[in-house]
Symmetry: C2
Subunit: 287 residues, 2 copies
């Protein structure tokens, strides 16, 4: 058990990520007293009963006043609003971090609010389709990558504390520029997510839906696993990372158009070329 | 253990499906003596050594001359060529079936060859990315749907024997019109397969590939699982089911275009509508 990195931490949002982070940080001994803040009383009670947090509350401003560390764990647009509220209410030495999926708008908001030096954006590449404190898992981040997106003005002490939190709970920490992070996750995460949503929406509700489901195998089930994800969270991501997502969609479309051309022409050599390029990537990706 | 449905069965192609079907049919006691035919000596030896087949050979014509039942288990275009060879060499009472993923071209070829009455097209909704007799699994078809595509002139005795084979090894048998089968699998199977290939090909080889792989989570891995599939098999399917696949791609494109419009406009209500439609379908599909 390490020295706490923060005597008093406030986590705003005790859903899957927030409650898992609280539980993992407390178990590792790096988070002292943890206050969980949220809108749902039932979810807060669950987080308290499970031991993920020590104390719960509804009022963000009150809960952050005496915090050394504030962690925002809500969908990205909510995190931006929360950052505004927290910046106005927390102390001058309080370090602020978050776990939102899109980072450049958070960094820009921190700059606008004059808290850029003590804001350290973070994005753990972990999660799941389950939601709420009931799904919390102190092992959620172990062995997974967490991206930190410090800027040129980030305080090195603040960065070191946030890095130490993630390292203590087993995450592999990578630092990236916020805009570069957003561009890469648009490809690695947001694009497959939108493809899964679009595939399911395309197959939904037609007169042939029951036939499609009857003939569906594990391939369709795997390809569409992400479509069970929370719509509110993904709506927020789509709005916050619009340009990078549109660029990723365009990159997909370019390959999709090539593939359609090969199907249309019955061009075996071109079909095999695209498929083998895909297989080779999948081999490098694994899974 | 049941009475054999066929005293002498020849399976042409002892890959994953052929060797699994042979192993399952022999274990269930519904296939008597089974001859495996293929091009790869090593794979045939493996099928023999594992007990999936009783005898092996290279010559299709010789191997089917005295067969009561011939099962074609190769990619769809190879099955069409094999059907021509088998129809010329097998006896007049021999029942012919297959496991190819596209059915209308097989039925049309059987008609052209004047073996339509004793050809019973079959498509088991099972498989995997592993290939060859080494991957054979006698439980592969248990609890999975197998589609049979008899035509108006299919001999009822031939249909009953093929149905009994699949039922004996635990498959749930569904009868469908061949063209309807091809249209539905284009949506349920070929479309997700092509999306997985296109997604991987789009992410492959760019200067950012290593960043993309570093930030990839289980979502990208699941969405792209199908991209590990055999390119030769899928090239053959794409050529054989061209029109239905193009229609399925167009159906996807229509939703994809709506989704891109909503991303571009930052239209939260429209994004949520599409995502929730997708989630509802995923809930009905399961997995």
């Amino acid at each position: 058990v390490s020295e706490p990195l923060a005597a008093r931490t406030t986590i705003v949002g005790v859903g899957l990520l927030g409650a898992s982070l609280a539980a993992a940080g407390r178990r590792a001994g790096v988070l002292g007293h943890v206050v969980g803040v949220g809108r749902s009383r039932a979810n807060l009670e669950l987080a308290l009963a499970s031991g993920a947090v020590d104390e719960i509350g509804h009022d963000v401003a009150a809960a952050v006043t005496h915090a050394d560390l504030v962690i925002l764990a809500a969908p990205v647009e909510a995190c931006m609003d929360l950052l505004t509220a927290v910046a106005a209410a927390c102390g001058r030495d309080c370090v602020i971090t978050d776990v939102a999926s899109v980072k450049a708008p958070m960094v820009a908001r921190a700059r606008h609010l004059h808290v850029e030096s003590r804001f350290v954006g973070a994005h753990p590449m972990a999660g799941g389709t389950a939601t709420g404190a009931a799904a919390a898992n102190a092992d959620l981040f172990a062995g997974r990558t967490t991206v930190l997106t410090p800027s040129a003005v980030t305080d090195q002490g603040a960065l070191a504390r946030v890095r130490a939190l993630w390292t203590a709970i087993g995450a592999e920490v990578v630092e990236m520029d916020a805009a570069e992070h957003d561009r890469v996750v648009a490809l690695a995460s947001h694009l497959p997510q939108l493809l899964a949503f679009a595939l399911c929406a395309a197959l939904a509700g037609g007169g042939d839906e029951s036939s499609v489901r009857r003939l569906a195998g594990s391939g369709l089930r795997d390809t569409t696993r992400l479509a069970a994800s929370d719509a509110a969270m993904w709506t927020s991501i789509a709005r916050s990372n619009r340009d990078a997502i549109l660029a990723a969609m365009e990159r997909f479309d370019s390959t999709w158009t090539e593939l359609r051309g090969a199907v249309s022409a019955g061009d075996g050599a071109e079909l095999a070329r695209i498929m083998n390029e895909a297989r080779a990537f999948k081999g490098r990706l694994g899974g």
